[in-house]
């Protein structure tokens, strides 16, 4: 029997296992205590990520509360993802790369016009995915806040210069998140093709939930 390397070390039985196609959204409810593993199947694929409390979706992931609570911009193994109420939503229990981004936000058709020019307006973007997924559950534009970008690298230089640079990921690398409350995970498998966040070639990712 062959062993699936992407399942290695996951606690508990697998309750959900899906490949999210390149450029697509994904929404899933993860219960407290379950672990979500994100697998960057082909490497250098940014996974844009939002969280909502299942019991009250006006409580949601807050990049600013997360940064303030840990006094650091980067999301690493051990980082607690906090809500706008200051509560723990998920914890990064393992990460195959040194850190992940939460200051770079999500690409949108509108911001693409600023960053690259109006010729990119018609290209698919993460905010389109976030909206499409959230609309299924009655959330909308007011619910889109600063997100996490797993496997994306946004360094800040001493003079404040920042930007999305080449990623640190590689095929098969993973990040594990343990839910500290019942959460709704909304993901955009980033379709951006104008910067290095996806190696200029969006690829699929795998989402595995262990209970």
């Amino acid at each position: 029997m062959s062993v699936d390397p992407h399942l290695s070390g996951l606690p508990g039985r697998i309750v959900h296992d899906v490949v999210v196609p390149a450029r697509a959204p994904w929404l899933h409810h993860v219960d407290a205590g379950q672990t979500l593993r994100i697998v960057d199947l082909e490497g250098n694929q940014a996974v844009d990520f939002l969280l909502y409390a299942a019991a009250d979706d006006a409580e949601r992931y807050s990049a600013q509360d997360t940064i303030a609570a840990q006094g650091n911009l980067f999301l690493r193994q051990g980082t607690v993802l906090r809500s706008n109420e200051g509560r723990a939503m998920m914890t990064i229990t393992a990460s195959a790369i040194a850190y992940h981004d939460t200051i770079g936000g999500a690409c949108s058709c509108e911001s693409n016009t600023l960053r690259y020019g109006h010729h990119t307006k018609a290209q698919h973007a993460c905010v389109e995915n976030f909206l499409e997924a959230n609309l299924l559950e009655g959330r909308g534009k007011r619910d889109i806040v600063s997100n996490i970008n797993f496997f994306m690298n946004v360094p800040v230089e001493p003079d404040g210069a920042l930007g999305i640079v080449d990623g640190m990921s590689a095929p098969g690398l993973t990040v594990d998140l343990r839910a500290e409350m019942d959460v709704i995970v909304v993901v955009s498998n980033c379709p951006q093709i104008n910067n290095p966040c996806n190696g200029f070639d969006p690829t699929p990712v795998r989402m595995i939930v262990a209970a």
Binding site: A58, S62, A63, Q64, D65, I67, A68, A69, G71, N72, L73, F74, N84, E85, G86, R87, Y99, I103, G104, G105, A106, S108, C109, E110, S111, N112, T113, L114, R115, G117, H118, V127, G140, K141, R142, D143, I144, V145, S146, N147, V154, V156, P158, D159, G160, A161, L162, G163, I164
Partner: protein, 274 residues
């Protein structure tokens, strides 16, 4: 309880006797300011208010309006939300603000960008240079942890709960309190991602002047920065003054400073082309 106010007439007289009371933190109606720039006609003044330590204020400002914020005593902390007043689902996006401008730090010439690829406000002058886009407002939880309490009804209010009251007065709610910027209290980012707060206290009278590039609602909360390390809840009043002004011209130096910014202004022009 006073028996002297036992009937409505006495209560009315007591209330009316308060008229004309002046305190440090209050709005001035009609607005009056004796320190406007020489080029500003006093008739164009639209807002003059000193926001208390721990207080908040909201205001709708028309496109072109200048908003001058003054850190009166050197220890103000202006956490700020910005909405498109005509369509408040459009609001400040701090991630796009730093990403599109390729820089983490706010200062003169920088834009506050919306989530719709438009510039809501620009910073036309800034002699403070200690601002924060990363840490957000203090919260009930952070104030409770540091000061033992953070309630609006208590002695140590927090910025997020001030925001909630502020947005509610424009018909908005919890979903509308978006990631904010903080003016006058800053952060610097170290090579390893560590956040170093810059909380002063600073010299009295530092100021930031912004220009509304769209019709906006601003919500200001003046509470200690979430990473202020001082054990005591420390903040001093914040003064807001606003006056009518011209919208950014096609040759405006802030509009033309960068290609990304020029396209943000072009998107604003397009929004008003109807």
């Amino acid at each position: 309880m006073s028996t002297a106010l036992a009937n409505p007439h006495a209560a009315r007289d007591h209330a009316r006797a308060m008229a004309g009371t002046v305190v440090d933190a209050m709005p001035v109606l009609p607005p009056r300011a004796d320190d406007l720039p020489p080029s500003v006609d006093p008739a164009d003044l639209v807002w003059e208010e000193t926001i208390a330590a721990g207080g908040y204020a909201t205001r709708r400002l028309a496109r072109g309006t200048r908003l001058r914020l003054i850190d009166v005593h050197g220890d103000a902390c202006a956490a700020m939300l910005v909405f498109n007043a005509d369509m408040p689902t459009e609001r400040l996006n701090v991630a796009d603000t730093v990403k599109v401008q390729w820089n983490a730090y706010l200062g003169a010439g920088k834009l506050l960008l919306s989530d719709m690829g438009r510039v809501l406000m620009s910073i036309v002058a800034d002699d403070a240079q200690t601002h924060d886009t990363f840490c957000g407002p203090s919260t009930a939880a952070s104030n409770a942890a540091r000061y033992g309490d953070g309630a609006n009804s208590g002695t140590y209010p927090n910025a997020r709960d001030r925001f909630l009251l502020g947005v509610a007065k424009h018909g908005l709610g919890r979903r509308d309190v978006h990631p904010c910027v903080t003016l006058f209290k800053g952060t610097r980012i170290e090579a390893d991602g560590a956040v170093t707060p810059q909380v002063g206290p600073f010299a009295a009278g530092r100021h930031v002047e912004l220009r509304a590039e769209m019709n906006v609602i601003v919500v200001l909360a003046n509470c200690p920065h979430v990473l202020d390390p001082r054990p005591s809840w420390s903040v001093t009043p914040l003064r807001a003054t606003a006056w009518r002004g011209a919208i950014a011209g096609q040759d405006d130096p802030i509009r033309t400073a960068t290609p990304e910014g020029a396209r943000a202004f072009a998107n604003v022009d397009d929004y008003f082309r109807f």
